[in-house]
Each structure stands twice: as structure tokens, then as C-alpha cells.
Symmetry: D2
Subunit: 377 residues, 4 copies
């Protein structure tokens, strides 16, 4: 019965629609009964001239996030059920779902002193990025990886992982995952792990074993086969990222280029095994814009989430513009032009550059031959 069908078709008098007649109404009732929808009522939404994102540009202030995470730390236990004390950004126009963009999940995760987040694994590709704090170790496949300000920790799908806070301080960081993409494409598997980590896994080394094997520039360990998919290097320490950006800007100053555009240095986190993106579905980068510089507006298919790692500035995404400062997060929907200006914030006297951590779904678009970029002039 059409009355029960989820399909609802409304004949309208719009110029590009068929003339409303009793025959058309009968046809539409027939479509509803047979679970059919004609292209002509949907094409404008489904096949737009340019991507028109269902997501909107939005900014979250770090202060508010952190304050709520702290409250959650006090009243919500970590453990089976929730598994993680993670609080996700919900794009205002995505129906209240915990989707920062249609494909990306971004959350603040919070661990209290002495707490463990239990071991599990899932097909969702994930990473952590630390805007402040230290004291937590992520244990990936038995390898404890320290987390400190500026570190980027990728973790490809289906690796066992847990976290433990070895200090007397709580710690917060951001998690990025492809949860929405895998939710939409329906590719997810999940498995809970052991109840407790071993003694060796609860050690707190300064460098993970993955870094000792894979963290040397241009050098591949002959005795350690690279896992697939995703990067075998489990931490990209801030020390190296900072130095790479400093080097690029120095080269530019000396007249040799090396930056993306004047005053704008950037590195991509890469898989040392094959140079590809660190995760099959997520690209991650760190951008540095020197004080006073402004980036040219760029549109890109696919969406991004940014977090201000340091400095202050003004970000413009399409029709939106915000002042941002350390820790603030914002999203750039597909094909919305983005431009960034680095400038001293209202409340700080910081003279440094604006450092922006970025992650996006670009590898998905590249793999499917759907990636496009356009510089707006």
C-alpha cells in the first residue's frame, strides 16, 4: 500500500517539472507503491552543478570543549559500554549526529589520572593529535606510544589499542576517525579486547618501538616488515614537524621557495613505507602561516577539520569568518573556499606564527578519482 511507503512524491507546478494532471498523480502513486523515485524530482539536490555540502562551516572554541570534557571526566566513567570518554563535534546541519563533516569524526577525548581506556579494535581508521598536555600512552599492538603536545599518532583500522594515563594529571587530546564514512558505506567491524594490559604494555618509554624502527629519515628497517594498511610509524613527534616547517620558511627567506605560498609552510604526515597518506581514508597536515600572511582562497572537493595548534588569526570559510586561537576547531565543507590570516589575537601578545593542524578525507577522493582543487582569484 502506498500509504505505508516511505516514498512520498509531490507533483508541483515548477517550470522544470511535468504538468500536474490526474495521470501524473496516478503515476506518482504507482511509484510510491512500487518504491520508485523519478530522477526529475531529485536531480537538483542529487546532481548539483557544484558540490553543495549538507554540512556548514562551523567553529568550536577549545575553552568550552575542554570545560565540558573536564566535567565529563568527573561524572562519566570510562569503560565497557562507552569504551572511551570521547565527545564529538556535531556539525549544526547534519541532524544532530556526531559528524563534524559528512565523512569525518572529530572528538575531544579526556582521561583522568590513573585511568585506562579499555583495549579494542575496529575497522575505523583513527589518529590522535595533542594540542596540550602529556602523560598518556596509547598502546597500539602492544607498543606503548607517548603523547605530548604537537604529536600526531595515526592508527590504522583493525589494530588493537588502549590508552593509559600514567600521571597525576588529567589529559585531553583530539581524536579523528572516519566513523561517518564507514557508517555511510557500512564497512564497520568492532571487537573488544583484553580487560587489562600486560605489565610491559604499561611501561612509559619516551619513544615507541615503531619510532625506533621507522622514525629515521629515509631509512627502512630491513628486519621489520611494514604492516598494511596505514603507516607503521605510530608517532610523528612535534620536534620534527616544527623543524620541517622552520626549514621551509628559512628556505623561502633565502630565496629558494619550498613553501606552499609566501609565508605559508606545510607538511603532510606520510607513510614512511610507501609515501602514501598515513591512513587509507584520512590525510593529515600541519600548516604554518607567518604573522601577517594570508593564504589564497582555495576550494577542494571533500571536507576538512582544522585545529589551531598555536598562534591566532582569522579564518574565512565561504560566508563565515571567525577569530581563532589555540585549540579552536573548525570545519571546511566540500567546495567551500578557505582562507586564513595570521594575526595577533585579542587577548594575547603572541608574536609567533599561526600553526594549523588539518585532517581531511582527501585520500578517499584521490582513490576514487574525484579529487578537484580550485584557486579562487
Amino acid at each position: 500500500m502506498s500509504a505505508m511507503s516511505p516514498v512520498r512524491l509531490q507533483a508541483t507546478e515548477a517550470a522544470d517539472q511535468p504538468t500536474v494532471t490526474p495521470a501524473l498523480e496516478r503515476l506518482y502513486r504507482g511509484f510510491e507503491e512500487e518504491l520508485l523515485v523519478p530522477l526529475w524530482t531529485e536531480i537538483g539536490d542529487l546532481m548539483p552543478v557544484n558540490p553543495r555540502s549538507r554540512a556548514v562551516p562551523h567553529r568550536w572554541e577549545w575553552g568550552s570543549l575542554l570545560r565540558l570534557a573536564e566535567q565529563a571526566g568527573e561524572i562519566v566513567p570510562v569503560g565497557r559500554g562507552g569504551e572511551r570518554r570521547a565527545i564529538a563535534l556535531a556539525n549544526p546541519s547534519l541532524g544532530g549526529r556526531p559528524f563534524a563533516t559528512p565523512t569525518l569524526w572529530a572528538a575531544i577525548q579526556y582521561l583522568m589520572p590513573g585511568e585506562d581506556a579499555p583495549e579494542h579494535r575496529h575497522t575505523q581508521h583513527a589518529f590522535r593529535f595533542v594540542v596540550e598536555g602529556s602523560g598518556v600512552w596509547t598502546v597500539v599492538g602492544g607498543d606503548p606510544v607517548p603523547m605530548n603536545r604537537g604529536d600526531f599518532l595515526p592508527q590504522a583500522g583493525w589494530n588493537w589499542h588502549a590508552h593509559h594515563n600514567a600521571t597525576e594529571q588529567p589529559m585531553a587530546w583530539i581524536d579523528g576517525l572516519d566513523i561517518p564514512l564507514q557508517y555511510l558505506t557500512e564497512a564497520q567491524f568492532f571487537e573488544p579486547g583484553r580487560d587489562e594490559l600486560s605489565h610491559a604494555e604499561r611501561t612509559t618509554p619516551e619513544r615507541s618501538r615503531s619510532e625506533r624502527l621507522w622514525g629515521h629519515p629515509g631509512l627502512r628497517p630491513l628486519g621489520a616488515p611494514a604492516p598494511s594498511p596505514g603507516s607503521p610509524l605510530l608517532s610523528y613527534k612535534w620536534e620534527f614537524t616544527d623543524r620541517a616547517l622552520t626549514d621551509q620558511l628559512a628556505l623561502e627567506e633565502q630565496g629558494y621557495g619550498g613553501t606552499v605560498e609566501p609565508g605559508h609552510a606545510a607538511v603532510r604526515y606520510a607513510n614512511p613505507h610507501d609515501g602514501s597518506d598515513v591512513l587509507p581514508t584520512i590525510r593529515a597536515e600541519l600548516h604554518r602561516v607567518v604573522r601577517g600572511a594570508e593564504t589564497a582562497p582555495v576550494r577542494e572537493t571533500g571536507s576538512s577539520v582544522y585545529q589551531v595548534f598555536d598562534g591566532s588569526g582569522v579564518v574565512t570559510v565561504g560566508d563565515h569568518s571567525w577569530s581563532v586561537t589555540r585549540g579552536d576547531l573548525f570545519v571546511v565543507p566540500s567546495w567551500e573556499p578557505l582562507s586564513v590570516r595570521s594575526e595577533a589575537g585579542a587577548t594575547d601578545s603572541d608574536s609567533g606564527a599561526l600553526d594549523l593542524f588539518r585532517f581531511s578525507d582527501a585520500p578517499v577522493f584521490a582513490a576514487l578519482h574525484l579529487h578537484r582543487t580550485q584557486k579562487d582569484s
Copy 2:
């Protein structure tokens, strides 16, 4: 104001949820206000142990589709606005949207005698498959490609294309596209083309130029560079598909294997340039199950749409089971086990095999390292 927020959080007394307290309620109101959603209320839906598709298995009967398409042919004009007289399958549990599965579009397209479907191009990857009829030519990049029963015509994104019916008969066929995937990931571009095809484009050759260049087994034309992405071969004629399946079954009979399993032959349509899938986001295959044979149940991540090309049988997808006959379509959601039995239909005395055309989103899953298969025993 939380009152305006799309986020709605309901504290519940479930065993795996935090204890409901005034503090928790305040926390949830804070989350709503700041557009945040905690993982612990969502993990069961977002990160299931196995993929739990929002789509359900469903079958559409060809007779009903064709009848409605014929009615549409009489009362709905082809042209600017609708561009195509295409009527899409709407999976019963996907909210009435024209999505056969979360990633795939499947529609019946219908063209009246002498009609043209106007030229356009889009990033969505598409194909046509002809279950019956003939008389229409698809013009892809200026190359008229005939359409006849059993032919498979891939057409990678961003190629100009139009259709013209050169006969005195209407014609119907099915279209497959990745419209839902590109809708969800927001990658779409669309451009209308010229108002009329040239005289040369309205010719009706028996073979397209693409077939004359690329349709010879194992032979690559040195003077014709392959376009990217997608197959340079614009038609896979039934004659060859049928012969390949016949050959496989003959080899099996002679004791040499070559089939997928006993009584089950299958070919994948492949890009002759590099052996990859014909389209970056769509895999297409033709399966033949001999009368009396039954395929072993298989689960796969990702979803598929099938059309019965010939013969009759019984299809079981998860808890659903249907008798199917020529032209019927059905969908297999992610991770639902599928099994097919070939048997004579109620109304026919056909002694032949059950031929099933299939298309799926498998290349997406393969590219993102998310493909899994499981044989249920």
C-alpha cells in the same frame, strides 16, 4: 541556545550508560549548547560488531517497473529539468530517497521513439545494462554506441553523453550510478551540454569506435591513448559475455575448473587498459548458475544490486527469500549473506541457466582497504 540545537541527548538508565543525575543532565545540556555528542550514547549504532545496514534486502518486479516506465513515457517529457526519464529504486528503509543501497543508484530509463535524452556530463560514474530491447544509441564523447539485449555500457564520470532512439519502438534499460556515494561524500559536478547532437553523432553504427579500438582480446591500440579514469571500452557486447560463460562451464565439465564454484560461472567487466574495474566506484559482473545449482552463501562488505538477465530461480538474502525471473531486480545490503538457486520459474518452461547481472561498490571498499568477504558454512 540549547533549545535551537540540532543535538538532542537523552540520558537513560541503560546498563552501559552513565548514571542519570542532575550533573549528567547539565552536562548533556552543555553538549547540546556547544554542538557536541558523546561517543557513549552512539557507539552501538556507529561502531557495530559487524556492519548492520540501514538498507534492507528488497526485490522489484520487472513487470511493474516496466509498466510504470511506459506510463511515464506517455506523460513525462524528456528534457531540460529532468534531463532523463529515469525512475530509481528506493530502498524501503532509506527514508524514501532514490537510493537502492547507501552507495548505489539503480533506475529504469525509458526513451520513446525518436526521442533524444539531452547531452550533459557529471562526475557520477554510470553505466547502462540492457535486459531487453534495442534501438537506442548512447553517444559518449561523440561516439555513438548501440544498445542491445545483454550489452553492458560503462561511462566514467565527466564524459559528455546523450542518448537517441533511432527506431519506432520505445526502449527501456537500467542505469547504474554512484549517485548516493557522491551525494554522501559531496563530490558532484554537473554540466549541461549542447542542445543538439551533430549529424555524425546521430548515425547508428553496429559497433562504436571504442569497440573497434579496444574490443579485441588482449590487444591495445598503439595510436589511441586510454582515457582516465574508467574503461576506454564503451560497450561489452552480450555475444562475448555469453561465450565467456559458456567456455567456463565447458571447462568445468571437462574437469578443468575455471568456474567460481560448481555450476556457477562468472565474469567481471574489466578495463582493458589496466585490468581494473570498469569504473572507479562500481564493479560489474555477470553470473551464470546452471539449472539446479545453488551458490554457497557469501557475505561481503559493501552493497550490490542484481538484475535477472535470463532464467528463473530463488534468491535468499539474509532473512528474505524471493522467486525471481527475467528483469527482476534485488539488492543485497552490506554483510547480508546471499545465496541463489537456479530453477524453472512458475510460468516458464525455460530449461536454461539463471543469468544474473550484478553491480556493486566493491572498488570503493578495495581502494580504502575495507573489503572483506566471508563464506558462511
Copy 3:
């Protein structure tokens, strides 16, 4: 002792050489003693401005080859020791070694009525091409493959293979291998096989099983995994090659291009599994030049061997020029310009095109990023 050293250094008074002094002579004796050679005496030979091949252009007449092969058929047995009755082209300037070019082996192979060439396998990649005759089956991995005029039969390294002549006529064909390349790089393994083929392997089907699985345009058998390396298709029958070339020339005539240059059609034999060259070290092509047409001179790094499959013409390679007719073979050394003119031969009234089979070491150059082409104007 220097007297025993293979190194011999001669100080000379040439302008680009060090002044001859007693000190230099002492130095050279020291080099000889320690097995050292200075770059300055060798650079002209080792690092020329352009490749200067040690091979020279040369043509072999088919009539003479065939006559000698027939004589060998009468007096030289096939069997252990020789394994094959194969007689190889020896480039005049490669020291009398059986090397058609520095990397390629080309031989005429001859099998008497009822004879078998014993089973063996080797890492050398090989193929057969049939300029005339029929009646022999090559058995590759248990699959009997018929050989008829115009067929191209690739066979990647390390596959077991044997031949048997099932007719009452002797048969000849050409073999191409990468024997010189593997000799120079020292990569060879060889293993003798069983003494006799099984009854099933001595059958004489018209199509090999490989053709029944892989010989359908753009269709991949789902139940038959592709071996690696090299093509899973063991015969490229003349019927398809001829049709592909005919199609290209017809397209050109209709104004659609598709040929390499006017009057010059060409196909490359490709691996249907991935579109790559049929063999990891050998590229094979069939070129058709219509009567009266002439190809533009082209230089290429790497070397080629050609055989006239049909027609007559004049071939120019560097400073050499020959009339060629059916069966004649010639070699094109690295960077020598080649041009071909199709014209009626002195002794025939053939009105057809000049068909040239070609094989080369191009995949080696492509894989090592050493491939260059230059059109001489």
C-alpha cells in the same frame, strides 16, 4: 703480479689524456696490479653522448633460415642436451654469440612430424610467433596451445612447457627470449621436466584453456586467478590481431584517427590481467603499413627484432637499407632510426599491406626509467 692481471692500460698522447710520463706509467702499472681502471681512459666508450650500440643493423632472409632449419631437422635430434632444435640469429658485431641484440634472443625452431621437444622450465621469458605452418601444440603448465600462422604465444618464465608435432608435416616458427639479458645480469635458473607428457597434454584442441578463460575482450574470469608474472593468455590468435588492425585503418579512413600515423596501424599484445606488457622483459607488437605508406623515422632506447609477417617493402635502419619480404627478420639496435616503406616486392604481385611483427626490450627500459623516444624530422 701485473703481468697476470686482466687489466691492460696503455698511456697515450691523446689530447684528453694525461701527459705520458714515467710517473703515469708507474701509476698505470699500479692500477693493473690492484685490478683498477681509471675512468679517463674509458669514458668515451662507457658514457657516450648517445647510445652507440655494439650491435649493428642486420637482416636475415627467411628462405636461407628455413633451408638450414630443414637440414638440421634431418640430422640433429631433438632431446636432452639440446632440448630444442632452435637456431639463433647472431648479430654480426656481437662476437659470434647467439644474440640478435645485446638483450634479445631470436631463433627459428623446427619440429619434425611426430616429434616432441622435451618438457623444461627456465626463468627466461619466452614467446613463439608463427609466420607459417601449423600442427604443433605448445603445452604450457599442462595446457595444450595450438600454433597457427599469425598466432603469438607468450610464456612467462618458470612455467613448465613442451612442444609436440601432431601432424605429418614438419613445422617452423620463431622463438623470442630474453636470454642475453638474463645472461648479462646473471638471473637464470633452469630445470628439466618429465620425460613424457600425459595423454591429456597430448590432445590437440583448437583453443587452449587459457584462451577459453582469458580470451574474451574486457572480461575477467572470476574463478581463475591470474598467474604472475606475465600474461595468463597463452595465445593471441591471428584472427583477432588482423581484425584489430583492419578496424584501425577503417577508422582512419572514416576520419576518426586511431592509427599511429597515416597508413600505419599497430597493436601491442597486452596482459589482460593488468594491461601490462605480455612479458616482464619483452614487448610485442604487430604493425601494419598500407601499400605505399612510409613510417616516420623514430629512434628508441633499447633494441628490437622484426619479422615480416606479410607483404613486402623497404626497411631503413640507420645507414642500412634492405628489401624485405615474408619471413625476413631484421634487428634495430638502440637509438638507430628506423623507417619502413610498404611496396610490392620484386617477385610478388601482392597488393596487400606490409605486416611486421616486432618484439623489443622496452619493458626493461620502462621499468628502469631509461626509456626515450625521438622522432627524427
Copy 4:
């Protein structure tokens, strides 16, 4: 005339050869006349059961090489003609040619105080490795790259390069190239460059621009496209190599593996752009064997050259065995088993490990599907 033919065929009475008869002799004269060689007289040499290298294992003592290079420094000018003061290892069984192995060139290069080696470029892929000394800068594509003990400097074909010695000391290092391979396959191009470097190119920075862009672990510069082929990183400094090896041995000691075998750490120099070998035809590695450890014998297709970077030990290659110490070079022909024992040398009291630099033609074998390894038990 057969008398002039380079082909010489000798009928013999060997068991696997045709019976010597007048007919056979006539046949052989016919072969000679027509420039043909039968397989049956050559198969044992051309198609051996295992690779039998024309090269032999050999060791060169660094002291002797350096002494002769110093003498060459005094009496042989660098400059047009020689271009480089490079003195190459000549394998004793390769006819006195400057070929360390059939595919690899290894030379000691020597530059006097203030000298320049002129700019040129060539298709041969090259690298430098510094066993001792410092003070020379290699200028690759305008980028001055310092050379110090332990540094590895790859330089892919067709890049402009020159050297200048900025100090008051002479300096020596080793060059590795694929000169023999390109000589045999005839792929070489060479072009002389400018007569003098610019002022900027004669600067002496501590780090090259390539290192500042590409020398950060796992980080790719977004503004600097990678050249192709070969590594964009022009120096792999000893500091990082040493640390990587130290890390591997520490992991092994802590029970986590990471080494190739007990007491044997190793890294491969990798292209940071795609993880491939640093050069299309040359693989380079650094192996560290702790004092007292011995590596298991391994055979590999393809050949290698080793240089002792530090420590002492005993090397066994097939039937040869030598004591080696800092700077000594030795070659391992194809399929000869190699084993290394680390032990204190006769003349030193060094307590450290044996560090071995290695380069090989393995990428060639991998690209052509000809790579094989075998552990002898």
C-alpha cells in the same frame, strides 16, 4: 663468406651433441655463413641450472686504493676529457673492464684541495658514499650537498652535478653507478655542463636544501614536488643511519626483535617520496654486525659491492674468504653465498661492531620479476 663470419662452430663428440658427420659440418658452415648459432652448442653456458657468474668474488684493500688515488691526484688533472678523477674496480674475470660486477661500477674518486670536478649529467644513476674525510660539496641541480664520513648521497640519472673541494685537504670517497648495466643495455646519454658553478653553488652549507625539505622523518613538504625518478633526498647523513642501527640493536636486546637476525641490524636507504629504492637500478643498505656475531649464508640473484665502513671481520663469499677492515671493498657475484663474521682485526683493538655499506642491482631484478633469495642451511 663463412671465413669472414664472427660465428665459429666446432662440432664435437660430446655425449649431448649431434654426431659429427660431414652433413653436420656442412650444416655448421651454413650457420656460420648465415650468422646463425644453434642452441644445442650454447645451452649449457646460456641457460645454466643456477646463475653461474662470469664475475668472481674479490676483495680490494682500501690502503692500496687510497695510495694509488693519491698518486693520481698528483699527476692526473681533473677536467674535460676525464671529467672525474675516478678509479674503478675491475673484477678479475670480466676481461679487464672497469666493472666490479656485470652490472655495477664502483670507483674511488679523489679531489685535491680547491679542485672542481666539472658539471655534467648522464642517464647513469649514481651515488657517493664517504668512508672517511670531508670538505667536498656535491652540487646537484644547483643544491650544494656536503660530504662527510658515513654520508650516503644518491643522485638519480640526468641531474646536473659537479663537485668542489672547499678545503685545504684532498678528499676521497667511493662512487657507485650502473654504468655496466647501461653499457650492456645501451641506454646511455651524456651531456657536459657549464664551465663554472655560480657563486651560490659554491657555498658550503651544512645541510643541503634537499635535506631541509625532505630530511624529516615521515614528513612530506607540500610545496616541493618530488622529482622522478630517484630520491629527492640528496644526502642520508651518518648521524641518522647510526641512530637507526643503534635503535634496532637496542630493541633486539630488549626482546622485541627488529633486526634481520641476531646481532645483525640493517637499514635500506629509501626514497621518502614513495618508499622505493633510492635509485631505479641501485639498492643501498648499511649493515651492522655486532662483535662476535656471524650472519647466516644467503644467496641472492644479482650482484653486490660492499665496503667496510667500520670494524673488522671475516667475509666468506662462496669459496673465498678474507679478513677485512675499514675501507676494504669486496664483491658478491650473483648466487654466491655470503656470510660475514664480526671480529677484532689483527692490527686494531677496536671493540665495536662491523659496519658494512652495501649496494646492489636488486631493483633491476625486482622490477623484472627475477629476484630470488635462498638461505643456505
